[in-house]
Symmetry: C2
Subunit: 362 residues, 2 copies
DNA sequence: ATGAAAGCGCTAACAC
DNA sequence: GTGTTAGCGCTTTCAT
């Protein structure tokens, strides 16, 4: 059976059916008209030959590949793999395939990936951009009119592009509010943000303007923290802002140092997945009784959070929905629809579990 | 700046440079020869116009898209997302892009995905096939000469296709041997396999023949268990084979029922990721002291296994390497190289942690 | 060294 | 209703 490659073309089908190329094309693409006879002959010939339309040729004619590109830092990361899942599902149900790229947060790889996707003529691209100064590859394709949507984060020079992300400030605010509601007033926040408390406080006091919109997710989350405190008439304390790099180990060290210090807090919220793992390790290594000595709310619904005891309360981002929204936004743009909104900020939700006691405490 | 779509073509470049289409083509593809002058003029024109080669057109001519397809049950599953990561990395460094599809273990979706990938003329396809009777879509593309490699599992009717997977039998044997070495003789095995102990024992007693090769991963793992027992002159006990569906909840129920029964065991090994989570939950819910009351070895190096106390020993499959091997095998086949081996069975490794006591026990 | 022209598989006017 | 033809962007003989 092993026949050599080269599947039948529309010409082969036409010959086999004894009709012209265009007659065959019309039947196969169900466009134009054809007599029942022709239709039958063509369909049978196609069946017999195992005809399979060549989408490359179609794309050359139509200018549409029905393929979307998605550029992510690391698809092995649970957050992005869930986003990708949502993205591919939404794409598929709209008749699009998905070309994926990893960047490992390397600007070089990012731009070459984007360039390649553009050469393959994808109809649109979703990008969780590397946080860098000069994302010229992104700017270029956007300039050329290829639909682009930003995922999870925005870059200052790319303010014009639509964004799909979680509402980072609200996410953290939810966690902090929940802690305040259960009686906590000394709430530590583990963050990747590097801005000073003054700087962040100034932005938190203002509206959600451009200044705010251009902050990284980590900084926006701190803003949510500060606003929740302010709403409850609590004041922020520099010593409760624990700074860590995006790394489990660094987060663990940071939290351990905090626990070993004489700064007191009754609750801790960590603002991303890696920080949450690191913080949890620190709590374990220092034998902290959770929630009695310290209440804890993590970030992202990682599977271990319900495997450990006590189970860990978390802020859960709608990961698959983020991906799906990015895909549908892109597809809308491809179809020439005016976007319903420039940005899509999806709300995260708080999953309350045992690492926060429900009882109000002193 | 927002100019309308349609990037410059080679004709535009030729005109801008004042040379013929073919001259421009030769320079841009660095094939054939061209005078230094022509070269310079063309390159400058291309630069000025922001020329970007159209890979669709190239593919139409060459018959090669430099795109690989990969069809997986669920890319949000950590095992497959790691495999995908390895796959895309290897593909990219060989100059290939990757088109992904999820099947959700639905045969319909699988075949339509494969069909679509074939229509897009991918150069090769890696598939972790849905376990079903009649994978005709796979058989068809393989018959047509499109390079195909199977990932993680093989289907009876697809014995001719190359396979890249972990050495499942060896993986479980490693775990069981380690338990035996620390003094255990009553070792329970949590498995998805549904075959009877007799049937499996018969296969375990034989060589790694076709019969063995066509078993599902879960059954191959049981074979490894049986062989490790035999090697240590221990006999298998039906009661120690705990059967569960592929689901955390079912695994938890199964293990709880076992713990509540009067069957005794001093060690437990769970043979895939979901079963491991479920088993761990059961151990927690029944307050089993690990490793003192029961030693435990899980499957797949999930991140929670080092977050819980005691940390959980696991069998770790080389996930990214599986993906990378699939990609390189495929690319080799595309380039017409005879495969180094029909199958690639990669060894898993045992990560010894605290859920097994190092001391030999009675 | 360079240009003209054919063709990859398909679609869409346009005639008949 | 059906066939002829041009052309999407590129590569590649083949002359010149």
């Amino acid at each position: 059976m092993t026949q050599r490659h080269a599947s039948a073309t529309i010409i082969d089908v036409a010959r086999e059916a004894g009709v012209s190329k265009s007659a065959a094309a019309r039947v196969l693409a169900r466009s134009g008209s054809a007599s029942p006879q022709t239709k039958r002959k063509v369909l049978e010939a196609a069946e017999r030959l195992g005809y399979r339309p060549n989408q490359l040729a179609k794309a050359m004619k139509s200018g549409l590949t029905h393929t979307l590109g998605v550029v992510l830092p690391d698809i092995a990361n649970p957050f992005f793999s869930a986003v990708l899942r949502g993205f591919t599902d939404a794409a598929r149900s709209a008749g699009f395939e998905v070309l994926v790229s990893n960047t490992d947060n390397d600007p070089e790889i990012e731009s070459s990936s984007i360039e390649l996707l553009a050469e393959k003529r994808v109809d649109g691209i979703a990008i969780a951009p590397v946080l860098q100064e000069d994302p010229r590859a992104i700017a270029r394709i956007a300039d050329e009119g290829i639909p682009v949507v930003l995922l999870d984060r925005r870059l200052p020079s790319l303010a014009a592009l639509p964004l799909v992300s979680a509402d980072h400030a609200d996410a953290t605010a939810q966690a902090v509010r929940a802690l305040i509601d259960t009686g906590h007033t000394r709430i530590a926040l583990l963050t990747e943000a590097t801005q000073s408390l003054e700087e962040l406080s100034a932005i938190a006091a203002g509206p959600d303007d451009e200044h705010f919109a251009l902050l990284r997710p980590s900084a926006q989350r701190v803003i949510g923290y500060l606003r929740a405190l302010t709403d409850a008439e609590l004041s922020a304390d520099e010593h409760l802002l624990l700074r860590s790099a995006y790394s489990v180990d660094d987060a663990q060290r940071t939290v351990e140092a905090f626990l070993d210090s004489n700064v007191t807090a009754t609750a801790l919220h960590s603002t991303d997945a890696a920080l949450t793992s690191g913080a949890y390790r620190a709590l374990t290594s220092r034998d902290i009784a959770v929630p009695d000595d310290l209440a804890f709310i993590g970030f992202d619904d990682q599977d271990w959070t319900t495997l450990v005891r006590p189970t860990v309360s978390v802020i859960d981002q709608p990961r698959q929905r983020l991906g799906a929204t990015a895909a549908t936004t892109l597809i809308g743009a491809i179809r020439g629809q005016a976007p319903a909104a420039h940005d899509h900020l999806l709300k995260a939700s708080l999953l309350m579990r045992d690492s926060v006691s429900s009882a109000t405490q002193a």
